[in-house]
Symmetry: C2
Subunit: 245 residues, 2 copies
DNA sequence: CAATTCAAGATCGTATACAATTTTTAGCCA
DNA sequence: TGGCTAAAAATTGTATACGATCTTGAATTG
């Protein structure tokens, strides 16, 4: 008997305070659309985002597209190389470790704040979010499930009502999505939803200690779900390996 | 018997890994120059940065200036209002609390990492930095002293060799500079240099526990050095107060 | 005189054109 | 064939022009 949560409303709440310091306008629209596409793993790390191509797709001039790409670069989702253009970012193994170390420090503290501040309505909101996660998992829609899974962490940061932390969490979740696209190894993604359920319970009980410690375990668990071993460059040929291609 | 530290070299180390996701070029140059000016309190919060004006000063077209201003906006130093332009950011009292809460969480952890990783050369570098801070204080150059004081925290983050944390610290130090410009109340800034000296000693001894706890106390102390009471709007007239002007 | 209206000026938002640089491709030679 | 060179194509970097929006200040009106 839980209210269904439309994808649209979830999208809204996620973007209500977004990462980008752009005024409302077309550049921001393009930014948000590209961000969604990246977070849903519709655009793979390393992919080139040519200005003309993006402009063609969204019907905007290069001026606007450039502003959007630069905003995405500042958020860490895209990297811009001088005279070469913009590419979906490819976090290194080292960066992956760093991001999850940072999450393990910050998000538990945020979870504590959230548990101390959460309202009944917000508990219901989280519950609905969890249901949507389950639904996406059951439907086998991994892209959406991943987006929602990240959204859960962002919603917690919003509940904590701490704009500085919320901004950091958004940035880290974004980068985590890229990291997962590159390095995820674990087969069972169900366990993740389990952690979120345990968090929910802690929030419902206003148990700040539990929320903090569950969140910390959860993030350490996510970290350990990555395959972050340095791979031997076993390219198809020696020249490929040496070119770093 | 300590090597003098030139302002130039300090500037270099601070900008070697900067906050901005811009490729090398004129936009980045303008960004860094504006950043220095803001951090030295040469440009006051709320000041308007008109595109033509900035372009005139640095000899660049609006295209380039806009990219620089947007980068500064993403770093939190500038806020852009649609159809109105860019202004030096004016953090609210609430944001000030949040920034120092975040610093109190993150920087002690960073100090611990730094203490575990620091090399002898880096200890010397910090010592030289401290000397420069003292020199600026003795010379009564508050702008420079403040810049160096922030630079000390950034150098620690660089020593910790953790890019994700270092980026966060840079962003927080930048915003702290604006916050201090707006809300600093304490008369004796000498105590600050004292805290930095205590940190130095902990680093020299590779005492991670001490570094972490001293850094935490230091940041809490800085936080308490701000006057963050909500002021009554005692404008010159009722209409001024109600207009929020 | 205060408040309002409206036009002139200033400033920002965006498209487009051209220059600089990179990437691709074709040609050449060993 | 493989590798080098150079011209052509494609892409990004930047300046500028024009339309849209905001700001300013003078004229108008109650």
């Amino acid at each position: 008997m839980t209210k269904p949560v439309s994808a649209a409303s979830l999208g809204q709440t996620s973007s209500l305070h977004h990462l980008f310091a752009l005024p409302p306008g077309r550049a921001l629209d393009i930014c948000l659309k590209l961000q969604s596409a990246i977070l849903e793993h519709k655009l793979a790390p390393g992919l080139k985002l040519a200005e003309d191509e993006v402009g063609e797709i969204y019907g905007a001039s290069r001026t606007v597209v450039r502003a959007a790409l630069q905003a995405l670069a500042h958020s860490g989702l895209v990297s811009i190389e001088k005279n070469r253009g913009a590419f979906i970012a490819k976090p290194t193994i080292r960066e992956a470790h760093e991001v999850f170390q940072a999450r393990a420090l910050i998000e538990p503290a945020v979870a504590r704040l959230a548990a101390e501040a959460i309202t009944d309505d917000q508990v219901e909101g989280l519950r609905a979010h969890l249901d949507a996660e389950h639904a996406a998992l059951d439907a086998g829609d991994m892209g959406k499930a991943l987006l929602l899974s990240g959204g859960f962490h962002i919603e917690i940061a919003d509940i904590a009502d701490h704009k500085v932390f919320a901004r950091m969490v958004r940035a880290m979740i974004s980068r985590s999505s890229l990291i997962i696209a590159l390095y995820w190894k674990r087969s069972d993604t169900a366990c993740e939803s389990h952690s979120h359920h345990a968090l929910m319970t802690a929030f419902a009980n206003r148990d700040a200690d539990a929320a903090e410690s569950i969140q910390k375990s959860h993030i350490i668990d996510l970290h350990s779900g990555l395959d972050l071993r340095e791979k031997q460059t076993h390219g198809s040929s020696l020249s490929d390996a040496l070119k770093g291609k």
